[in-house]
Every structure is written in C-alpha cells, then in structure tokens.
C-alpha cells in the first residue's frame, strides 16, 4: 500500500508543481489583480509616497492649509544641512564656502540652488551636486518617499503635525502605487464599448462554431465517408493543414489572399475592379475572413472526431438501409446523425472554449479592426492589459476581463465534465501494494 502511494505522489509531483505554478497561481493572481487599479503608472510591485502637483491638487479640498503649505519647493542653506554635509566626507571646501558665502539664502527651485552649489570653487560633480542639494531641501514637493512614515516624519519636520485621520488623507493623495477597487467590474458592466465587445464575441463564437467547427466539419466527415479511402485521406490531409501550420504563416497566407496587392485583388483586377484590401475594406469583409480563418482551423477537429464516430457505426446498418432503398440523405438523417449526438456535443463544448480563448488569428490578421469591428473579448483583454499604442497597460482592468473568461471557462468545463461523466473513467487499481 505504502509503496504505491509514495511512488504515485512522487510521480505526480512534477505535474502538480507545474499546474500549481502556471494554472492555479495565475488564476488566483488574476482574481487579485482584477480587484485593483494596477496599470503602468502604478506599477505592479507597489508604490512610493510623493507630493506631486497632482497630489497637492487632490489635497486642496480636504486639507487646504496643508496643500498651500507644501505647494512650493524651497531650498535653504542652513546650519542643519551644513552639519549633515560635513558628515558626508566630501571635500571640506563645499561646506566651508557655503557657510561663508550663502548662509541663510532661500531658493524657490532646485535648479537655482544647484546653480549655486555647482559654482563652488571645488567643483562638485553632478552626483555630488544632487547629494548636497538634497541636504538643503526644505520642502516635500516632488520628493519620493519609500515609506509612508518617512513622508509623515518629513511633514512633521516642516511643522505639519497631522492627526491619524489627516495622515490617511495625505497618504491616499500621495500614494503612487495601486489600490484595491471594484471599479473594473463597474466599467465592464456599464461601458457601452464592453457591451459591443461582448456582442462581437458572442457573434464570432456562435457563427464560427455553427458554420465551421460543427457544420462544415460534419460536412467534411460525411462527404469523405462516402469516398474511396484514398481520396478521402487526401481531403482530410488538406483540411488538417490549417491546424498544423504555425499560426503566423497561416495568417500570412490569408493576408496574401486578401491584401490590396494579393491574390483576390489581382484576380478581380482582370475584370476591371480596382485593387482593394479585401480583409479590412469593411467590417463585413473583416468578419467574413475572420470567421473563415478560424473556421478552417476549427473544422479539422470536428472532421476527425465525426469521421471516427461514423467509422464506428456498424457497416451492416448501411447495407441494410441500402437494401431497403434508402438514399444517402436518408442514411445521414436516420443512421449517422442520431449516432453523432455525443460527438457533436463534445466538439461544441470543447470548441466553444477554444474559440473564446483564441485571439492569435484575429490579432495577426485584423488586430481587431477595421475600427474595433472584430475586437473580441480575449483580444480586448490582451490589448487592455498588454498591447496598446499609448503604452498605458491596464493590468487591473485586463485581469478583470480575463477573469470573466476564466469564470465562463470553469462553468463550461464543469458542464462538460457532467456530460462526459468523468467518474466512470476512474477504475480502481487492481494491484493493492
């Protein structure tokens, strides 16, 4: 008993670790990110506290006095700063000259303070100038504090003794990192653009599924069934090509077919039609080709599943029906289709999920265009979180969009599990050691 268990645990460990790292962790993380406003600007790992102009603006309503008091940069050459400068062990001439020549001077900007420091006879380097000017900085404006306490301590030094409540307000206004929020779900549920994307996705999945992954696949399986085996295998081989061809090349082929300098344009120009980009010319064209591109790939799986299911039907049923004078359509209607119920259901479930998650083909062909016409949910999540022109990567919103798919995915898979009764698939081990 023990050896089998230990061995089992040992042998399944690598799979468990990989699934934990790259499925479970990501699902949990996606759920966490979905509850934040994480973006390029907030960073992922956390933020700092910085009194920026924007933060001052935010503070103006709640703490006007504080906002006014910290709105201006100020650099003062004072004894405190000079003492610190002396402990830095830079050239002694710096402190001496500043004390002798500039004691008590106030500068309204860093630039001006640094001009004075730069002009010191001992010529501090640019790094040293920064180091020195920092010591005389008597404001908190634009300084980046790594911890909240550091900011509060510095505010206190400037004479702003804040109550814990006020500290909270200041911390909230000055924090640069991400915060918890449910805004992402509000945006998803209320934005008309999201509704459009949702509709696009529903359209794309249902039409591709119906016409190709099931419909055309069934057509292929039926027609090849009624052919010589050698002819049938040629057609099956051709229709498996889209699936085995790497997606980048496959989409390139479609681009060549539809581009303004491509096959269709050149062909049509023989009949006097001016060349145009058939892929992106109108939203209808784009949808037409997006569905073809994905459908041609999707048809192969159904084709193979249905073919082998048809092959499993006892030959005698066909022979018997032919003796009775049944036509092919009747054979299909009364013999084949009823026995394909489960394979069709299987393909439908499986392919719904694949279509929901697949965006490679659309990304590489239309990029969701023209306009946003062919933008589907998974592609939109990818664009939002990782890939857009302005470089404003909204990880939080993107994760929330991904989470929607994750939830749909889990629900569909559970249905799929029930339909296929996985419990019957587990047999009890016969060797009990």
């Amino acid at each position: 008993m023990r050896t089998s268990r230990t061995l089992g645990l040992f042998m399944i460990a690598p799979a468990s670790i990989m699934i934990f790292l790259f499925f479970l962790m990501p699902v949990v993380l996606t759920a966490i990110f979905a509850m934040t406003n994480m973006s390029t600007a907030t960073g992922i790992s956390g933020g700092a506290w910085q009194v920026t102009q924007a933060a001052v603006n935010r503070l103006k309503t709640d703490l006007p006095e504080l906002a006014d008091g910290i709105a201006e940069p100020r650099f003062i050459i004072d004894e405190e700063g000079l003492k610190e400068l002396e402990t830095l062990k830079l050239k002694p001439g710096f402190a001496a000259e500043l004390r002798a020549e500039h004691m008590g001077e106030v500068y309204p900007s860093r630039r001006e303070a640094e001009r004075v420091i730069k002009a010191l006879k001992d010529r501090p380097s640019t790094r040293e100038v920064k180091q020195i000017s920092d010591l005389f900085n008597r404001s908190v404006l634009n300084t980046r504090f790594e911890t909240r306490d550091e900011l509060m301590a510095n505010l206190k030094k400037l004479g702003f003794d804040l109550t814990p409540q006020q500290q909270d307000i200041v911390a909230r206004a000055t924090y640069t990192g991400w915060i918890w929020t449910t805004d992402n779900f509000r945006i998803i549920s209320s934005s008309p653009d999201m509704a459009q994307i949702f509709f696009n996705t529903a359209f794309y999945v249902s039409v591709t599924l119906l016409l190709f992954n099931v419909g055309y696949a069934l057509f292929l399986a039926l027609t090849t069934h009624y052919m010589q085996a050698s002819t049938a295998s040629v057609f099956r081989a051709i229709w498996l090509l889209p699936r085995i061809t790497p997606v980048v090349i496959y989409v390139l082929l479609w681009k060549w077919l539809t581009w303004d300098s491509g096959f269709i344009s050149t062909f049509m120009s023989q009949f006097g039609y001016p060349p145009k980009n058939y892929l992106l010319d109108t939203a209808y064209n784009a949808w037409f080709f997006v569905i073809l591109i994905n459908g041609f790939i999707g048809a192969s799986m159904g084709m193979l599943v249905f073919s082998s299911a048809i092959k499993a039907i006892p030959q005698t049923q066909f022979h018997a029906s032919e003796v009775d004078g049944a036509s092919r359509l009747q054979q299909i209607r009364y013999i084949i289709l009823p026995q394909l119920r489960w394979p069709i259901l299987f393909v439908t479930c499986y392919q719904t999920l694949s279509l929901l998650a697949s965006f490679n083909e659309i990304l590489l062909s239309t990029r969701g265009g023209p306009g946003k016409a062919t933008e589907v949910w998974s592609l939109a999540a990818f664009h939002t979180a990782l890939n857009n022109y302005t470089g404003n990567l909204e990880y939080g919103l993107g994760a929330a969009m991904a989470l929607v798919l994750v939830v749909v995915g889990i629900i569909l898979s559970l249905i799929y599990l029930r339909i296929f009764r996985y419990d019957t698939l587990i047999s009890k081990p016969l060797i009990e050691d």
Partner: protein, 280 residues
C-alpha cells in the same frame, strides 16, 4: 493495400468530390503560391510568375538590420520545441500512469482538474503568468517560456497518456510484481514500452505545438537573443517599412517545412491526437 469495401458503394461519389475540391481550392492555392512565390518574381497585376530568383531567400545568409540571426532563431525554436516535448513527455507519462493505475489520494479530484484545465482558456492568464515568471526570475528566458508552454499543454498530455495506459492489460504489471520488481521498475521497463505509439504521437504533437507557438514567446520572451521563428516572422510582417510577401513567404517556407515533413511521415499519429484524443 487492399481497398476496403465502402458503404453505399452503389452511389457515385463524383459530385461530392467535385464539391469538396471546390471548397478546398482556396487552401490549395494558398499553399501552392506559398512555395511558388519564394523562388519567383511576379509582375505587378499578374498571377503568373515570369522569373526565377533566390532573392527572397537572402535572409539565410544576410542578417537583416535590427533582426537577430536566422540560424540563432532557428536553433532557439528547435531547443524550445524539443524541450517542451521532453518536459511534456516526462511529466505527462508519469502523471498519466498515476492517474490510470496508482492509488493516490484525491485521484478523482486530480483527474477532474486535469479535464477542466484541458479545455481551459489558459492564454487569458498571460498577465498573471508573467508575474509568476518574474518572481521565479525566468521572464525573457527560453526556459521560462518552455515551462509555461509545457504546463499549458500538460493537461491534454496527461489526459491522453491516462487513456493509453488504461488500454494496457493489468496482467503485464501483475507478472512484473510477481517477479519481484518494484512498481517503478514495472512502469519503466514493462508498461512504458507498451505505449510507445502513444509516446510517439504525444511527442510529435508537443513538438509541433511548440514549434508553432506565437503569443507566449512574443509576450514572455521578447528579447532578440531568445526569439523564436514565429516571433521573428511576425516582426518582419508587422514592420510596414519592408513589406515584401516574397521574403515573408520564404521565411514562412523555411519555418513550415519541418512541420510538413513531420506531418507527411507521421500523419496517422497526428490524426489520432488532433481528433480530440480521448481514446487510446
């Protein structure tokens, strides 16, 4: 090979053949021109090439400015696909055996989990996967993408292997145990050889999906030193400064030929897997 009798052989199949040929025409055309265009020049506005050239293939001996060397990229792709295959085969053949044969706690739960993940839209997790990779320090490295890609294909692999193990008769193992071998030895020496065809099929499948993968290396390993062919070709196409179908297609042929060779030789194995693969 003897022609096996066809159902309903008394009907002519010519009309359906014609119909299917018509439907297949776009695919055949696209693939035919994929090869033709790489070695020929076609005048603008014509469909018939008029000149032989190897110009489009110059990427093999001239590294394009701003692009990594094609041979490095090819090597990367080969390493990428091979490692994925190795990882999937090793991990899935072990896990599949456990699920099929060994008595471990929560076996049913694990099996159900694998089945859910098998059809899971995992690519939508890519942001979170990035974070995981970043924490374990494998962002922008081939090893990182290999692990992620292998993990994503793993549920299918485990599922397939489990199905294949299910078909191996228990008697083989019983005999091994009686001879005094451990369960591990039995698996390694007796059971594994029984499912060689399955290992072969899963290996091919893994190699092909690894060879084709685009979005994972694109996002998780964008560096020039770790680029793979799919990312290389996509970056050529997206750069509108040098739009030239001839070159794209030459790179494409270079990239697709290994796939086609494997496909031609091992078509049967592949058909098994692409057909859903729930049966052994």
């Amino acid at each position: 090979m003897a022609e096996k009798p066809q159902p309903s052989a008394n009907f002519s199949s010519l009309p359906v053949i014609l119909l299917l040929t018509l439907f297949s025409l776009p695919l055949v055309l696209m693939y035919a021109y994929l090869f033709i265009d790489t070695i020929s020049e076609t005048p603008v506005g014509s469909l018939i090439p008029n000149e032989f050239t190897l110009r489009h293939w110059s990427f093999l001996w001239q590294t394009k400015t701003g692009k990594p060397n094609i041979w490095l990229v090819t090597l990367n792709t080969f390493i990428f696909a091979s490692c994925i295959t190795a990882v999937i085969l090793t991990v899935a053949s072990m896990a599949g055996y456990v699920l099929s044969r060994l008595n471990v706690p929560a076996r049913g739960f694990f099996l159900a989990g694998v089945m859910v993940l098998h059809a899971f839209p995992s690519v939508t997790l890519i942001i979170a996967i990035f974070i995981v990779l970043q924490y374990i320090g494998l962002y922008n490295s081939l090893i990182g993408v290999i692990l992620v890609k292998a993990a994503i294909d793993l549920p299918l692999g485990i599922w397939l292997m489990k199905g294949f193990y299910d078909t191996v008769p228990w008697e083989i193992e019983m005999a091994g145990i009686v001879d005094g071998a451990s369960r591990f030895t039995v698996w390694r020496r007796l059971v594994l050889p029984q499912i060689k065809p399955a290992v072969m099929a899963l290996g091919l499948f893994s190699f092909l999906t690894g060879w084709s993968e685009f979005i994972l290396p694109q996002v998780l390993a964008p560096g020039a030193q770790v680029q793979v062919l799919s990312v290389y070709l996509a970056s050529l196409i997206i750069d509108d400064n040098n739009f030239d179908f001839g070159t794209f297609k030459a790179v494409g042929v270079f990239y697709v030929v290994p796939v086609l060779i494997l496909y031609v030789f091992f078509q049967k194995h592949l058909m098994n897997i692409y057909g859903g693969g729930t049966k052994g």
